[in-house]
């Protein structure tokens, strides 16, 4: 059984101008010790999916359908109290986007991690918590003596490491990392990604990596889900998706990435813009930008169907004629 099994998750944001259909029928699984990369452009609903899994959606956001199975619980139905006591931090933890701003500037870094431990594990003494913080910082490659520093005394990369340490404070089984490298320089980003890979090995940690950068997924994950306008369009084994993308959107996205190793070519792009999720197009949401769009693409939403025996799923009528 998968560690995290998301089935048909649908999340909308209710605003004055209507419901923003940010995530529609999103399904995926994360196994123990496995890394899943959730990729897509800004506004495609990747972060919404992560926030839905932890049930920490901002005001107006509501899960209106589907299941989030974690262990033997359906996170959608359990109450807030249980969510806080049993799931957040201990089961699933998250490293938020923007390492620069996620730490409180007026508390010492160590104290912030201690606070997280003491809040969630009431049987731990302050002393033990402090000891654990030292170990955690060491695991992420920060000297334990730095626990007494304030966030402004940390560099960008160290802040990101401290946040990762904090997310590991209560030994979660699944770590969600939202854009872990985005605000960092290439070299520091490479350091952080290596750290995540090492942690995954060492702690047998399952990971969900949210990023717009497909290269990061290629380097870190076994599985990938490509999202477009709130729906998963392609999902499965990362090598298959990257080597032989089937969905026209995945193809376009991969083509738009400059590779340092590939031959020098004219850069390609996908014409048009992502749709307004208040009024998404009918049928396949990619159809207005798709050069292969057919009649049926405008009428019916394509289902995510497995390509026989390959563990890769595509939602496109070109691949799975109805």
């Amino acid at each position: 059984m998968a560690l995290l099994d998301v089935q048909d998750l649908t999340t909308h944001y209710f605003t004055l101008s209507g419901a923003v259909q940010a995530a529609e029928n999103v399904s995926f699984q994360v196994e123990k010790g496995e890394a899943l990369g959730l990729a897509g452009e800004s506004g495609c609903g990747k972060t919404t999916v992560a926030l839905s899994v932890l049930k920490i959606l901002p005001q107006g956001g509501r899960i209106i359908g589907g299941k989030v199975l974690f262990g033997d619980k359906d996170l959608v139905t359990i109450n807030e109290d249980e969510m806080r006591k049993a799931v957040r931090w201990k089961g699933i933890s998250i490293v938020f986007q923007g390492a620069m701003n996620a730490l409180n500037p007026v508390y010492k870094v160590g104290d912030q991690i201690v606070e997280a431990i003491l809040t969630h594990e009431t049987d731990v003494s302050g002393e033990e918590a402090r000891e654990r913080v030292g170990k955690l910082l060491e695991t992420v490659g920060v000297s334990p003596t730095r626990a007494n520093n304030y966030p402004h005394e940390f560099s960008g990369g160290m802040k990101q490491r401290a946040l990762i340490a904090m997310s590991l404070a209560c030994n979660p089984e699944l770590l969600i990392a939202d854009e872990p490298g985005t605000a960092l320089d290439v070299i520091v980003q490479a350091q952080v990604l290596k750290l995540l890979r090492d942690l995954k090995e060492k702690l047998n940690l399952a990971m969900m990596l949210i990023t717009h950068d497909l290269s990061i997924i290629a380097e870190t994950c076994e599985k990938s889900a490509i999202m477009y306008a709130g729906r998963i369009v392609e999902y499965g084994d990362v090598t298959r998706i990257f080597k032989e993308p089937l969905h026209p959107y995945t193809q376009g996205l991969l083509g738009a990435f400059p590779s340092i190793k590939a031959a020098r070519t004219r850069m390609s792009s996908i014409p048009g813009l992502p749709p307004d999720l208040l009024h998404p197009p009918s049928g396949c949401r990619f159809n207005p930008r798709c050069r292969y769009a057919m009649e049926i693409c405008r009428e019916k939403v394509p289902e995510l169907i497995e390509e026989k025996g390959t563990n890769r799923y595509v939602a496109c009528y070109l691949v799975n004629p109805s």
Partner: protein
């Protein structure tokens, strides 16, 4: 594209270009310490941009790329050193002497959300450079604006002229930014990370647009970016900056595939590749870029350099040496055994 047997014309030539920003101090600290501190944003760098060429400047944040771009247009005053535009020293020109040259030198800014005045219409934004330069009467200006909007594929132009920036998408806004830079038909354009704020799927369009405008107007570019993978697709030559210094400079293919400086090598190794089967390197250099207020002595990269030889690298600043075919690097260790071994690794 370049060469064609005759002498290549140099459009921009920077020599010994330096910009130190003084650090503002409180009243008390001026009483107690005499020493004025500086952020050494750009420190004695040399480069040139040839006609119809795209010269890339790549480096991490805080390496001085943007400052260099602004110096090249003299949007800020250099602390020392010179900028020559087509043989003319512009670093000592007066503002009024500079004005006729301004029409030939333009800039495309990084952030299309911040660089367009939200209270001006697209027409006003694109027409402004023409009005400042007194390029024709109202009708001519209007015609030129429509023409350039067509060139940047904001078509039909009538539909965009009276709109405001907030009505456009990020990609369309950056097209307006490009139109504003090209409406005067410049000979030299600084593009400061023009696509880093845009979604990946639309970046290609903007880059290809700049390439076709470059062909059309015969423009030279200084292309500033942190994305070294992108330089391969855009730039003819590239310079790698670190802490205000140029570490390496040469033809893009040479620099990317046969780097001479250990920093360049480290930077290239750190770039993630969108291919799950490619061998990833686990040897990553340690630490982060130090403060430009107190840059390390000697070679600025030596505290992070995996092959640094002390005390040589920590005492003597390496000169920029040409290793043939315009491929220059500032490193003491080129050709030494430790360097050979590191540079041969994946």
């Amino acid at each position: 594209m370049k060469g064609e047997g005759k002498m290549e014309e140099t459009v921009i030539k920077a020599s010994n270009l330096t910009k130190w920003f003084p650090i503002r101090r409180g009243f008390l600290s001026t009483l107690f310490t005499k020493r004025q501190l500086f952020v050494r944003a750009v420190d004695k760098i040399d480069f040139d941009v040839k006609k119809r060429e795209i010269f890339g400047l790549a480096g991490e944040s805080g390496s001085g790329k943007t400052t260099t771009g602004r110096l090249a247009l003299r949007l800020i005053e250099p602390t020392s050193g010179n900028i020559h535009f087509k043989g003319k020293d512009i670093s000592s020109l007066s503002e009024s002497g500079l004005k006729p040259l301004r029409r030939k030198m333009q800039i495309i800014f990084q952030d299309p959300y911040e660089s367009l005045n939200p209270r001006m219409t697209i027409k006003e934004i694109v027409a402004e450079p023409l009005q400042v330069q007194k390029s024709g009467n109202e009708d001519e200006i209007k015609e030129k604006v429509s023409k350039i909007l067509e060139d940047v594929q904001l078509v039909p132009p009538q539909e965009f002229l009276e709109r405001f920036p907030h009505e456009l998408s990020g990609g369309q806004r950056q097209r307006v930014g490009v139109a504003r830079a090209f409406v005067l038909g410049p000979e030299f354009v600084v593009a400061d990370e023009p696509v880093s704020m845009l979604d990946v799927s639309i970046r290609g369009e903007i880059l290809n647009l700049m390439l076709s405008l470059k062909e059309k107007f015969g423009t030279s570019f200084l292309y500033i970016t942190h994305d070294i993978a992108l330089t391969r697709h855009m730039c003819d030559r590239v310079g790698i900056m670190y802490l205000g210094k140029l570490m390496e400079r040469g033809k893009t293919e040479k620099v990317v595939f046969e780097p001479l400086h250990p920093y360049t090598k480290a930077l290239i190794k750190a770039v993630p590749v969108p291919d799950p089967t490619s061998k990833r390197s686990d040897v990553i250099i340690k630490g982060e870029i130090p403060s430009p207020v107190n840059p390390p002595a000697g070679c600025r990269f030596h505290p992070r350099c995996p092959v640094a030889e002390l005390p040589l690298c920590s005492h003597k600043e390496p000169p920029m040496i040409d290793y043939g075919d315009e491929h220059c690097a500032a490193c003491h260790l080129v050709g030494k055994p430790g360097w050979e071994k590191y540079m041969a690794g994946t």
